[in-house]
């Protein structure tokens, strides 16, 4: 009796200590876009469509001109953006819907997300203060900090290069991306994205959904020998031979 009681008490104590950690879900693992192309999504988990950004009038003309070129290219079967053709990764926020699967590495103090295409990795520093946009050097993934609100991982990102654009949408250096990431089901992850920027009349919001993959190992992606190039007329060409 005398030995069991302390053990029980210890057990209760440990459970108490472990409880806050258990409240935070574990996103570790490999994820793919949901739904897959041509798959009908379960409405409970379907991503929200991405609306057009509500740009202020002074930025709308640039966006519209870009969309016209984009639509033309898509009709011709050309890629949407030039990044991949030039062996340049997506950057944020596009990498959250990069072309291939992604892997989440979760630790209490830092969460990394790697997208298979171009080995892109973003790093989310937990429970740190988001610097002002002009305190960090602009980059493809910017500076990201995160914290938990119950079962939801809230990530704030700033410091994205102005030439790193999502859907050819111009943005200022002070753009801020807020993500709310949570599990909708044990194997379905949702990322609600809200983009705030001085170029926008109101935040640009949409969501992505992901499905957990079983036993998938991300593959290396080094853009080692890019033989494609865009000629002066804007057509993608192939260099034959080395």
């Amino acid at each position: 009796m005398t030995t069991i009681l302390p053990a029980l008490l210890l057990g209760v104590g440990l459970a108490g200590l472990a409880a806050p950690a258990l409240a935070q879900p574990d996103f570790s693992g490999t994820w793919e876009r949901y739904p897959a192309p041509e798959e009908t999504a379960d409405p409970r988990y379907a991503p929200t469509p991405i609306p057009d950004p509500q740009l202020k009038p002074e930025h709308r003309a640039e966006w519209e001109a870009g969309q016209k070129i984009l639509a033309e290219r898509l009709r011709e079967g050309q890629p949407a953006g030039d990044n991949y053709v030039h062996c340049i990764p997506d950057g944020m926020p596009a990498m959250m819907m990069g072309m291939f699967p992604m892997e989440v590495f979760q630790r209490a103090e830092q969460i990394n997300i790697t997208q298979e295409a171009f080995n892109q990795t973003r790093r989310i520093y937990m429970n740190q203060t988001l610097p002002n946009w002009d305190e960090v050097d602009p980059s493809f993934y910017g500076r990201s900090v995160g914290h938990w609100e119950g079962d939801t991982l809230v990530v704030e990102t700033t410091g994205i290069k102005e030439n790193v654009r999502f859907r050819w949408t111009p943005h200022s250096g002070s753009m801020k991306i807020t993500e709310r990431i949570r599990l909708l089901a044990p194997d379905i992850l949702q990322d609600q994205i809200s983009i705030d920027d001085a170029y926008l009349e109101k935040p640009w919001t949409y969501s992505y959904s992901f499905r957990r993959m079983q036993d998938y190992k991300l593959q290396e992606y080094i853009c080692e020998d890019n033989r494609e190039y865009v000629d002066p007329d804007g057509n993608t060409r192939l260099k034959i031979g080395k």
Partner: protein, 136 residues
Amino acid sequence: MKFAREHYLAALACAATLAAPLHAHHSFAMFDNTRSVTLHGKVTEYQWTNPHVYLDIDAEDGKGGTKHYTMEMTSPNMLHRGGWSSRTIKPGDVVTAVMSPLRDGQPGGLLLQLTLPNGKTMLPGVPNAQRYKITS
């Protein structure tokens, strides 16, 4: 496991359809998708690299000689998910390749299907494969 495999096959089939053309990878517009060319010959190089895998062959020209062709494939990760590896083909293998030729007339194209020395025909998972006519 089974689910995963089926899922990959489905994903591959559609990687292509890429209904969301916004997700199209590289451009395949440089290939003439209205016709195909069939080549038979010896592999000189099979280069397993990103962003694309390349297959080079010395194809019989029908006049007793050969002509060198370079064919583009998708990326190693997509090919891997479709059952290919860096060892599927090796230099010296005699293969039959069907390709969509380059529009600009250079000796090359986009590989649409490949018959290996053992007679097995493999599909390289070309996005929107149904858009590329096989006429040869």
